[in-house]
């Protein structure tokens, strides 16, 4: 009502009430802002309640949901909300220490958002009225950790990396001293942001041994969430410094990790694909990358998908295959993948000179993407596609012609290059050394080879695997199996008894018969 009144007033007396109008608007804005703030602070405290429920029911899913919801709202986090939350939730005496700590972090970040500090005193006055009647309650350590994590998040988002790092350090330390199963999920998230702060400050290599220690602890505690995150963090850490050897050893030494979340699984496969591609294990690398792309969310995480696609394209080129065109035409990724589309075009044509030009043109992009060294390996594939083309179009061609067509810098090598291509099964031909030419062998019908059945097998396997994964991903009621088993067991017992009875009877009969005999 009042809003409407002021608005109508504003429209009627435009000239006179300029100043008043401004003031009014300000208060209105403040009001909205306050409402928003209250709403989101309620939101976060609801998440805290959800966490409590999750702990009592020991349900990871609830916990996951609470964290997901809270993280989705992270942009709404402000200092005042955090202060308020810590005031209401951590008001019990046993939390005094952590409450003081949180406030300390927040006060350290004071310089950044004056907007918030201005409104803070106003904010703190109305809140006690709603909460003071309640007796301060002791909250679970999970909630405490949750608040701490939110603080870290807020500090990262407001680019207070130094303070964030300190806060994350304390959080991880306190989490590691407690062994509660219900803390695992929050602990995993905390570790992720812990590593993130170090990465943002550019000293990621410093925490490598800490992460390894944490991995050991979480393995001993059977903390799957922690293990998942830590393996990925370590891989990322190693790969940032190009320590491929260590990363590959880590993958080999860690027992198969049971991944609980798709995003972690996708990350793991991406890193694995990267390692395999560097080690020239292209088909494995390609499989890993494809799994990573499939597991990644389809709408968000654009950066991840772009990176995975870039690598997958290169690996495919290195395998001598040409990526399908629709990979490049995905609307979200089109512009990011353009340098790679150009590259693919040149490989397809088999033009060595143009390929070189393209690589030179986009060298900086490739270097930034860390694909440059891989791309340099493609050169031989360009030569091979060129050779393949020639061998399909000519049944007999001289070395000098090949050299001319493919722009080799020294024609002496043609013979050996062709010989190698023949050995690797790229072309099917025979070299005549005296005549200095190659003669293609007659092409065999593909359908008389095992190739179609192999391709078929590959696809069927993929379908079966997807089905398996789908079944595994479904949730079943915990007792369904048990009940069934119980019924089955009862039935079996009955059957067994019947059989026993029958047998006894028969034995009796036998005995009788014997006696009669």
């Amino acid at each position: 009502m009042t809003d409407k009144d002021t608005k109508s007033k504003q429209t009627s007396q435009k000239d006179d009430t300029d100043v008043v109008m401004g003031e009014k608007e300000e208060t209105e804005q403040e009001k909205i802002a306050r409402q928003k703030k209250e709403r989101s602070s309620i939101y976060f405290s609801k998440d805290a309640q959800l966490i409590q429920r999750a702990v009592h029911q020991q349900d990871d899913r609830l916990m996951n949901r609470a964290l997901r919801q809270a993280f989705a709202q992270r942009s709404k986090l402000t200092k005042s909300i955090l202060t308020q939350l810590s005031d209401t939730l951590l008001s019990h005496e046993s939390h005094k220490e952590s409450q003081a700590k949180l406030k300390e972090y927040l006060s350290k970040s004071a310089s950044s958002d004056q907007m918030e500090t201005d409104s803070q005193p106003e904010q703190s006055t109305p809140t006690p009225s709603t909460t003071t009647p309640q007796q301060p309650k002791q909250v679970l350590p999970e909630v405490e950790a949750f608040l701490h994590l939110l603080t870290v998040l807020f500090l990262i988002d407001s680019k207070q990396y130094q303070v964030a790092q300190q806060a994350a350090n304390d959080l991880v330390e306190s989490l590691q001293s407690q062994n509660r199963r219900t803390l695992n999920l929050i602990g995993a998230k905390a570790l992720f942001y812990y590593a993130r702060t170090y990465e943002l400050l550019g000293n990621a290599s410093a925490i490598r041994s800490n992460l390894l220690n944490a991995l050991r602890t979480s393995s001993l505690r059977h903390d799957h969430y922690g293990q998942n995150v830590l393996v990925n963090l370590l891989l990322r850490n190693y790969l940032q410094d190009n320590l491929v050897d260590q990363a590959s050893k880590l993958i080999n030494k860690t027992p198969t990790v049971d991944f609980r979340s798709n995003s972690q699984l996708a990350r793991f496969y991406y890193y694995k694909g990267r390692i395999k591609s560097i080690q020239l294990d292209y088909s494995d690398a390609y499989n890993c990358l494809m799994t990573a792309i499939r597991k990644a969310p389809t709408n968000s995480a654009k950066g991840f998908r772009v990176a995975a696609y870039k690598l997958a394209i290169i690996v495919q080129l290195l395998m001598g295959e040409i990526p399908e065109h629709n990979v490049f035409s995905q609307p979200q990724l089109r512009s990011a993948l353009k340098p790679y589309l150009e590259l693919t075009k040149q490989v397809r044509v088999g033009e060595l000179l143009k390929f070189k030009d393209t690589v030179d043109k986009y060298a900086d992009v490739y270097k930034a993407d860390k694909t440059f060294t891989l791309i340099q390996r493609i050169r031989q594939n360009v030569i091979r596609t060129g050779l393949k083309k020639i061998s399909t179009s000519y049944s007999r061609i001289s070395f000098s012609d090949i050299s001319q067509k493919l722009h080799f810098d020294n024609p002496d090598d043609v013979e050996l290059i062709v010989a190698k291509a023949i050995r690797d099964g790229i072309i099917d031909a025979i070299i005549d050394h005296q005549g200095k030419f190659i003669q293609s062998r007659e092409t065999v019908d593909v359908y008389s080879t095992t190739e179609p059945s192999d391709a078929f097998h590959k696809r069927i396997n993929l379908c079966l695997k997807t089905h398996d994964e789908a079944v595994r991903a479904m949730r079943f009621p915990p007792d369904a199996n048990k009940q069934k088993a119980q019924i089955q067991e009862a039935e079996e017992r009955r059957k067994r008894q019947e059989e026993l009875a029958e047998e006894l009877e028969r034995e009796d009969d036998d005995d009788d018969a014997e006696e009669e005999f």
Partner: protein, 263 residues
């Protein structure tokens, strides 16, 4: 015990490398035993500021290890090369000591060694560790070029490079590499030619004399018919037919099993 006390021993070792490799190896062992006693031996931080003494010690250890690598390269002792390589690696990439001038040479040498041993995957992992802007360094560029030639099949180019090594230490590994290449060419020839005259084969496999070629053909079990070598295309159609049938049976059964599980 400090860097200054060990310096005479180090000088002796350095001098012995050229004149008496055997003695140098022995001296190296003595030196390394002394290093364990140094304070800076356990100093693994890459950023912490070091005292003058520590700095000296680390530089001494590093140089000794580098020389040990060059020594193993000269004598062709691959095992000791690998061991010292992994030891010296902990001293590279430190921001608290000045960069070694021998670093590119050592790294390039290591790349060439991996190439010569045909450990291509490790070659690439190693290469990833070297920043891209250093790839232009003549010491490092050489093994990179060699790898390109090897992958492409430009074996002639590779052979021509034989005498263009950037450092004398590369020679031993180049010899090993040429041997590897020869095997590659032999493998390719078996598939690509029906027959090859001995004179051409000698040229192709870079043998200096017909005797060497004869020895080689014997090792590979090639048939020499007068003045030409005959390669026989292997044909085992019957065997593959059997295998194929088995493969099909196996696959079909597994499909049936999986289908059953789904239904």
């Amino acid at each position: 015990m400090g860097a200054n006390e060990l310096f005479p021993l180090f000088q002796k070792f350095k001098a012995a490398i050229d004149s008496d490799p055997q003695n140098a190896k022995k001296l190296l062992g003595d030196l390394k035993k002394q290093f364990i006693l140094l304070n800076s031996f356990m100093q693994t931080s890459t950023t912490a500021t070091l005292s003058e003494e520590e700095n000296k010690e680390i530089l001494l250890i590093r140089e000794t290890l580098e020389l040990a690598i060059l020594l193993s390269a000269k004598t062709g002792d691959l095992e000791s090369f690998e061991r010292h390589m992994s030891q010296v690696r902990t001293y590279y990439g430190r921001t608290n000591v000045e960069k070694s001038t021998r670093e590119p040479l050592i790294l390039g040498l290591n790349l060439l060694r991996l190439l010569a041993q045909n450990r291509i995957a490790e070659f690439h992992t190693e290469l990833e560790l070297i920043p891209i802007d250093q790839h232009g360094d003549p010491y490092i560029k050489f093994p990179i070029d060699m790898e390109l030639c090897l992958m492409e099949g430009s074996y002639n180019k590779l052979r021509v490079s034989r005498n263009k090594e950037p450092a004398p230490e590369y020679k031993v590994f180049m010899d090993v590499l040429i041997e590897t290449v020869r095997k590659e060419i032999a493998d390719c020839s078996e598939k690509a030619y029906k027959s090859l005259s001995t004179a051409d084969a000698q040229k192709l496999l870079f043998f200096g004399s017909p005797q060497e070629l004869q020895q080689f053909t014997k090792e590979r079990g090639w048939k020499v018919d007068g003045s030409s070598i005959k390669f026989e295309a292997e044909k085992d159609a019957i065997g593959t037919f059997h295998e194929q049938a088995q493969d099909v049976i196996y696959k079909t059964l597994s499909y049936a099993k999986e289908m059953e599980r789904i239904v």
